[in-house]
């Protein structure tokens, strides 16, 4: 890993960056923005060094401290979990599910999957948890940016197909959700 920890998110290419945007409809309100940033700093995992917020094109850049210990320990976990290397990436795409009682949450980008906001913390979701559309169900770390992955619709977690610290490719199925109507 290198000294430079800052990779700005590109418009449109990093869905996670979009998800990190302040939700306030009133960008003039500095107070709102301050609260949003403070909240962001509190919820982001790892040791933060800097958060830069730009108004114009609405961009948030997060810089983590060098040698992110917390992440390293997770990465180590990954390598031991997959001693055969990273060949599992090839078999990542599961056959589509015909049963429309289920819906999937897929990886929108290539990166490292984390089930919890920080090592040792409770996972975002477990099997049988209920989620709403917009609930954060995982994080994918890419280019040192933590990208929250949110459920597209509401449902009950039926299956988690990826383990913590595993590499994921674009479009890989992370979770299966049982649709609400069926669950009720």
């Amino acid at each position: 890993m290198t000294a430079n920890n800052t990779i700005p998110s590109r418009n449109g290419d990093a869905p996670g960056a979009a998800a990190l945007r302040p939700t306030s409809d009133n960008p003039e309100s500095m107070l709102d923005l301050r609260q949003e940033v403070a909240e962001l700093a509190r919820t982001l995992p790892g040791d933060l060094r800097r958060i830069r917020v730009r108004g114009g094109d609405r961009e948030i850049e997060v810089e983590w401290a060098d040698q992110v210990r917390t992440l390293e320990s997770v990465v180590d976990q990954r390598t031991t979990a997959h001693p055969g290397g990273t060949g599992h990436l090839t078999t990542a795409v599961s056959p589509p599910i015909v049963d429309d009682a289920f819906t999937e949450v897929r990886a929108p980008l290539v990166g490292c999957y984390y089930a919890a906001p920080s090592p040792g913390a409770e996972p975002f979701v477990r099997v049988d948890d209920e989620v709403e559309a917009g609930t954060t169900v995982a994080i994918i770390e890419a280019m040192k940016l933590m990208n929250p992955i949110v459920a597209g619709e509401s449902g009950v977690v039926a299956e988690v197909l990826v383990s913590n610290g595993e590499s994921v490719e674009y479009d890989q199925i992370l979770l299966r959700l049982r649709r609400k109507e069926q669950a009720a």
Partner: protein, 499 residues
């Protein structure tokens, strides 16, 4: 030491790079879009990673996903191929800062060579011959007209950031200058996001001759002969050959030396190509440098026996060149035909679709580089290059006959699919091409008659007479043997005498 290499490309060049990696014992990571998940390179690779949806902007140009794929798979190097990110200095820099070896020149050199005006300025300083014209971008119509009057008409207006044959116009008289200037700037702004244009003398009847160079990180450089790529349709190459047999041995050696001098003067490393226009008397004029592996590199590989991808990788690893100029031997003649999924009769419109029939030619000195297999879909998202057919023979005439034989063996068919195969067979039969006296405008000028000839070949089907001795006898043999630096050709004269 590179142990695992990620190929940031698709199609034939990804397969080409994977093959050399295999031969060198380097593990291959293929990245692919959702449209390419069953492609040939994915099958050949040790690891494959889906990096995005079919649109190139979201997959093959998606820098975060590509770099992340390299880091997640433990790759230590990235080969960008050609096109896509191959000439993006930002990508090269991001790779380096992520600890990945980028197979290519340093980002700063790539940046300089990527801007035609900057490249021209640097090459002029290095003493390379330039067409009369200006190096600096021309700011106004008035300035441009003054310059054009100074260097004399016809002139060509070129986009400084141009490439791929787009963003250039030829102006024959002062009356047309203003309109052409404004429209070229508009095109340059629209396509390249940079309206800067420059003006230089336009050479009629010129040939496109380019020199393949290899430079290591220690200031050593060699040239691997040259390639003639004069057969272009609207500045898109269709057929390339080597050597440029219309030039004398002395002229070719001089050109090679100029190319190496130019490349070393800017600190170039790896494989690169210096493009020149050569006039009727063999005088060269520098055009531009391509800071990457080129589509037509196999022509040089066939001529020299040197694997250019292997050399790129060894140079990127920091090894010095293992051979000097005196060790580079060019023998015989090589030709490449680009087999595109395009309909020449409909303005070369791309014809994507399924390859129901796709059979490769084979046989002596016949090479087919492709990323497709029978049954594959040719996606409308990517360029239309299906395959590159390359042949080698001791003489140019024999190579032309061999190419025609190989083209006849090639079978490509599918619903709505057209290719450039019969157009190539028409080209090989044209007296100007057989006599090696065509120029860079030849294709655009002769297209109607070539299309008629191609249609005839198509109708005749298997009854097309092969290209043999009668045509060969009509063309005088080259005055000089094809070789460099007085090295004896590997093949004896007896072998090359036509029947």
């Amino acid at each position: 030491m590179i142990r695992k290499l990620l190929i940031a490309n698709r199609g034939e060049i990804a397969v080409r790079i994977a093959r050399t990696c295999r031969e060198m014992g380097i593990e291959v990571v293929a990245v692919h879009s959702s449209a390419d998940r069953d492609s040939e390179v994915v099958r050949l690779a040790d690891i494959a990673v889906n990096i995005g949806p079919p649109a190139p902007r979201r997959s093959y140009l998606n820098i975060p996903n590509i770099v992340e794929a390299a880091l997640q798979t433990g790759a230590d190097a990235i080969h960008p191929g050609y096109g896509f990110l191959s000439e993006d200095p930002d990508f090269a820099e991001i790779c380096e800062s992520a600890g990945l070896t980028f197979i290519g020149p340093p980002p700063s050199v790539m940046q300089d060579m990527g801007n035609k005006a900057t490249a021209r300025g640097l090459m002029q300083q290095a003493g390379l011959p330039m067409l009369p014209g200006v190096v600096e971008p021309v700011r106004s119509v008035g300035d441009g007209q003054e310059i054009a009057a100074d260097i004399g008409y016809p002139v060509i207006i070129k986009a400084a950031a141009g490439g791929g044959g787009r963003g250039m116009s030829v102006v024959h008289s002062a009356a047309d200058f203003s309109e052409a200037f404004v429209s070229t700037r508009e095109v340059a702004r629209a396509i390249f996001n940079d309206p800067a244009v420059y003006v230089e003398r336009y050479l009629a009847g010129a040939r496109h001759v380019e020199v393949q160079v290899l430079c290591d990180q220690y200031g050593n450089g060699v040239f691997l002969g040259e390639r003639d790529c004069s057969l272009q349709r609207r500045h898109q190459k269709l057929l390339e050959e080597a050597p440029a047999a219309h030039m004398t041995v002395a002229q070719r050696e001089h050109l090679g030396a100029l190319a190496v001098r130019g490349a070393l003067s800017v600190g170039y490393t790896g494989a690169g190509t210096m493009e020149f226009l050569v006039d009727g008397s063999g005088e060269p004029y520098f055009m531009e440098m391509n800071a990457r592996i080129q589509v037509e590199h196999p022509v040089t590989e066939m001529l020299t026996g040197i694997d250019l991808i292997r050399e790129q990788i060894l140079i990127a690893e920091g090894l010095p060149l293992a051979f000097g100029q005196q060790d580079v031997r060019c023998s015989g003649a090589a030709i490449e035909c680009r087999i595109n999924a395009e309909d020449p009769a409909r303005g070369f419109a791309p014809t994507p679709g399924r390859l129901d029939v796709y059979r490769a030619p084979a046989g002596p000195w016949t090479r087919l580089d492709t990323g497709y297999r029978e049954g594959d879909q040719v996606s409308p998202h990517y360029d239309s290059l299906l395959a590159k057919l390359i042949v080698w023979a001791p003489t140019r005439d024999q190579a032309l006959s061999r190419m025609d034989r190989a083209l006849a063996e090639m079978a490509v068919d599918g619903p709505g699919l057209s290719t450039t195969v019969t157009l190539h067979r028409a080209l090989l039969r044209h007296p100007d091409i057989r006599a090696d006296r065509h120029d860079v405008q030849f294709l655009d000028r002769e297209m109607p008659s070539l299309l008629a000839s191609a249609a005839e070949i198509h109708q005749q089907g298997p009854r097309v007479p092969s290209l043999t001795a009668d045509v060969v006898c009509a063309v005088p043999a080259p005055a000089e043997p094809i070789r460099l630096r007085g090295i004896t050709p590997r093949h004896t004269i007896e072998e090359v005498t036509p029947a």
